[in-house]
């Protein structure tokens, strides 16, 4: 299996795209199963591995790196449009 994404830490709820991912394909990464890509995602950006409700933390490297500002669906692109920093929140 040629992997197209990377799960850095088992606790993480996002994976990192190893190349540009297109809507319709599936996430192929060690430790990840049954996650469809629901929108185009640029290489090295994050993809949600499960539904993440608004207010929940984004976990990468096994640590909190952000909080999401709206419900994020499994397979969606996770970036500045749907999260905010947990530090210095307005």
């Amino acid at each position: 299996m040629k992997e197209n994404a990377l799960l850095i830490h088992p606790r993480d709820n996002v994976a990192v795209a190893l190349r540009n991912l297109a809507a319709g394909e599936g996430v192929k990464a060690q430790g990840v199963e049954g996650v469809p890509v629901v929108q185009d995602i640029p290489a090295s950006h994050k993809i949600a591995l499960r539904n993440i409700p608004a207010g929940e933390e984004i976990i990468k490297y096994g640590e909190t790196v952000a909080v999401c500002t709206r419900d994020i669906k499994k397979g969606e692109w996770v970036h500045t449009h749907n999260l905010e920093s947990k530090r210095w929140r307005k």
Binding site: I8, V16, S44, V65, V78, L83, S85, R87, W88
Partner: protein, 384 residues
Amino acid sequence: MREITGYERKNEKFGIRNHVLVMPTVSCVNGVINRISREVPEAVCVDHSYGCGRGSIRDTQILFRVLAGMVHHPNVGAVVLIGLGCERSNTKALGPFIDAAKPVEIFNVQECGSLQTAKKGAAAARRLLAEINGQPRVSMPWDKLLASMECGGSDAMSGVTANVALGAVSDWLVAKGANVIFGENTEMIGTAHVLARRAKNEEVAKRIVEMIDQAEQRSKDIMGTLASWVISPGNMDGGMSTIAEKSMGCIFKGGSTTINQVVDYGEWPTEKGLILQDGPGYDGDSMAGLAASGSQIMFFSTGRGTPAGFPIVPVVKVASNSRIYHAMMDDIDINAGLLVEGRSLEDLREEMINLMVRVINGEKTKAEANGMDVFTMMTVHPPF
């Protein structure tokens, strides 16, 4: 066999290069340095934009520490210092800070004008080159090495591939008895609890938290509510969304060993093993701080790609992805992007250690061979 060699200095330090450094004490005389550089290309001629016009105690402390640090640097065998005369860091004021255990020749432009000074400086550089050229390399103990870890032009892969690889080399070096230093406090914001957990003792843990709190406060003071985005547009294009995310990727480069000391910007460590530096994230300023702390070799990871090296320190560039490695093959020494294409971390680490040993023993890194030198230092207040 992993034998390393270097130039033994009178103060028991070891250099891995034997440079004659030609440096101004103030930007006003940069033209003199440029003339000497054309006449004596074998010397390492460094110009800069500091030396006067900044009055604060902190800026003066940094200025003196970095200029003295360049003179003291173990990779430098002899120095030609060109002063003006009336600048803050004039050669008389700088004198007490320089205990170089090496030849240092000083010339001031206000004594005989720029052309005469350039002539004298060039003659001194030639003389010193001849003087130190014969010094032999001798076997160098690993514990005399201070390697530094730097990252710049990062992308989201930096924290997945290149910095993980740097971390593996850091851990290997510390296990070997060598020393490793890394800084960039703004890129530690959000990770104080992770780093403090690895501190040698309570005191070091407290200092780590304090340093990162201060970096955070400074960012807030400067950027207000935008402070959580103290990452560049290039970083964001690369997929990083917050400073905490970038920081997690950054601190991977220091590996996983105990943190034994936190030193100030440009300060020489007194402890062994893994050391943190309270220095800024901006690449040039950070490199100068690490060099002024006595680091003889630097690993520098990059995802977006930068050619930057440092005048007196060989910088090993490590790409976080294959695309930038191939696009900037003339600048980048190692491709850590292969980690996501099936290459094992152990295999990559071996390649990096082998290259490091060759570089310590004299092989030029790409930034070094290309002369992509950058010399800037941290400043706190604007000039007046």
